[in-house]
């Protein structure tokens, strides 16, 4: 991409040689607008990071950069709060739900794309229609059910209560079905003739071929559950089981809201996610393209 052709050979439509280096005005303008956009978009984000480095005395001054940067907020968050426990809770909840969504959604997507059976279209429409059910409508019956079953009294029950709504998603089923439809049937048929089991064909032939789709489904499922707020806020009774968003939102000390700590905790929560996105963004975007967002 960095190799440049000798410019003198390039002629425009009228046949006259181009000047050796023409300023590309639209391109320059694009960079300008994008940079302004980045500055505006990142200003609040940078403020969060920089505030996390400010001491309590400096918290409300107007300077952008901290005068005497300190890691004290981070020390307090890590040592004097339940942050590590909350981080671990979020990690557990987001990992388990992501693994479950990847497995079950791809299995349903595969079945709906590659098998012919009565009720196929109806099942697909029914699953898709759950996207229109507002979460608010579900949380009241969920809450009543979890209370009736006294689920949150045991440790596995408490974690299960937080996780169960996210174990499968209609969006993922839609995404995976679109992708599996592009796989050639002959490939699966060949494996069938070789005597492979149906599950083996799905697990060892089909699934490895849809890796980009799995990557993008994974990151969005993980993010969604990592940031989930409404249901965890409602269902978690014991502070031990709080997830990061709920724990941070309820970060109220006796001397009012501890903003320095909130900023440090949020920075610690964002940075790993951002690094993962930066590394995998090519696959994520490729995944969205290939999974038929194009229609």
């Amino acid at each position: 991409m960095t190799t440049t052709l000798p410019k003198t050979d390039v002629r425009d439509s009228s046949g006259t040689p181009r000047p050796r280096r023409r300023v590309n005005l639209p391109l320059l303008l694009a960079y300008l607008v994008l940079t302004v956009g980045i500055v505006v978009t990142l200003f609040p984000f940078m403020w969060m990071l920089l505030t996390s480095l400010k001491s309590f005395q400096e918290l409300f001054n107007l300077r952008f950069l901290p005068e005497a940067p300190t890691l004290d907020n981070y020390r307090q968050v890590l040592l004097e709060t339940k942050f590590i426990q909350w981080f671990a809770n979020s990690l557990l909840v987001a990992s388990v739900t992501t693994a479950s969504v990847l497995f079950f959604d791809s299995m349903v997507g595969y079945t709906l794309a590659k098998f012919d059976f009565p009720g196929k279209t109806l099942i697909f429409i029914l699953i898709l229609s759950t996207l229109m059910i507002p979460t608010e409508m579900l949380v009241i019956p969920w809450f009543v059910g979890v209370s009736d079953l006294h689920l949150t009294r045991s440790v596995p029950g408490a974690y299960f209560s937080i996780m169960f709504p996210g174990l499968m998603s209609a969006f993922g089923v839609f995404l995976m079905r679109q992708f599996f439809e592009t796989l050639p049937d002959d490939l699966l048929e060949a494996a069938r003739i070789d005597g492979m089991s149906e599950f083996g064909i799905f697990w060892r032939i089909a699934l490895p071929l849809v890796r980009p789709a799995l990557a993008s489904l994974a990151i969005f499922t993980f993010l969604g559950n990592w940031n989930a707020f409404l249901w965890p806020l409602i269902v978690i009774q014991n502070p031990e089981f709080r997830t990061l968003p709920v724990g941070t939102a309820l970060f109220n000390g006796e001397a009012g809201t501890q903003w320095g700590l909130i900023m440090a905790a949020s920075s610690l929560a964002v940075i790993p996610v951002l690094i993962v996105f930066a590394i995998f963004q090519k696959q994520i975007i490729e995944g969205i393209v290939l999974t038929g967002m194009k229609g």
Partner: protein
């Protein structure tokens, strides 16, 4: 062969179908049932009240306001978010150097915890010393009250939501744009089409499915707006004079603040009907050539 396929298919679908039945469909029916009772989880008796909860809705001023606010958020948020997302995606598609870096940076707000974002927002739009007002004064515009003004709090909250969603929107449109074959643009250029012609004749129609997807999912999300509104106001009462309260927040207050779960369920049923109606209308009008 077909019988074998059917058996395998239903074996694979067994657990997922149970999940969708137990976690999505039965609770929906349960909400419908709860809405006919005066249901309070703390009380012994849960008397059947028929359509009383629905009749109460008709005269509930707070519900009317929450509904109006939710509609306003949707009408402001969805178009602004899509327009900005499309603009950034088109520009990112134009450049080569730094493209990945810019893309990741635009994505940063999407992964920022809402609690932190909400605090930064309060500081940015602070009436006394906020940077936004400093900037307005510099432009010779009088300082505004933003979040503390009943007239401006909603728009300021909507700005937070748009800011957070922009990154996802950009990724979505980049995906849609990269699916359009380059050769179409090359052919258009040979035929002498300008860049605005290329946009309206090629990009816009071929991006239609992505835009439909954005409009429909964006509308559903805005109609359920909750987290940003809660965290931008320390109380769960919504902004000044209830000016930012959404339907979702009102449901939360009723069901988990006052434990009026029957009445709250009636509102969720109304919200469901609204979402269903709007989605069907949107799909009908927006999907011109693509049958669903």
């Amino acid at each position: 062969m077909r019988r074998h396929q059917t058996r395998t298919a239903y074996t694979f679908l067994l657990v997922p179908l149970l999940f969708f039945l137990i976690v999505r469909f039965l609770p929906t029916l349960s909400a419908l049932r709860l809405s006919l009772f005066d249901w309070n989880i703390l009380k012994e008796q849960q008397p059947f009240v028929g359509t009383d909860n629905y009749q109460r809705l008709l005269t509930d001023g707070k519900f009317a306001q929450a509904l109006k606010n939710t509609a306003l958020y949707t009408v402001i948020g969805v178009p602004v978010q899509i327009a900005l997302g499309l603009l950034v995606a088109l520009l990112l598609n134009k450049i080569r150097a730094l493209r990945g870096v810019f893309r990741a940076l635009y994505f940063a707000p999407y992964v920022t915890p809402i609690v932190a974002a909400a605090w930064v927002w309060q500081w940015l739009f602070s009436p006394q010393f906020g940077p936004v007002n400093t900037f307005l004064v510099w432009l010779h515009i009088p300082p505004q009250n933003f979040l503390t003004s009943p007239d401006q709090a909603l728009a300021t909250t909507a700005a937070l939501v748009v800011w957070q969603n922009l990154g996802f929107q950009v990724v979505l449109f980049l995906a849609g744009l990269s699916a359009i074959p380059r050769s179409y643009y090359e052919a258009a250029e040979i035929d002498g089409a300008g860049s605005s012609q290329a946009f309206w004749k090629i990009t816009w129609p071929l991006l239609n499915p992505t835009i439909v997807f954005s409009v429909v999912t964006g509308t559903i999300a805005y109609l359920q707006l909750f987290t940003q509104v809660v965290n931008l106001n320390f109380t769960d009462q919504g902004g000044p004079l209830g000016s930012t309260t959404t339907v979702a927040l009102y449901i939360y207050q009723l069901a988990f603040g006052r434990f009026q779960m029957g009445y709250a369920s009636a509102i969720t049923v109304v919200l469901f009907v609204i979402i269903l109606a709007i989605t069907l209308v949107q799909l009908r009008f927006l999907t011109r050539r693509y049958d669903l």
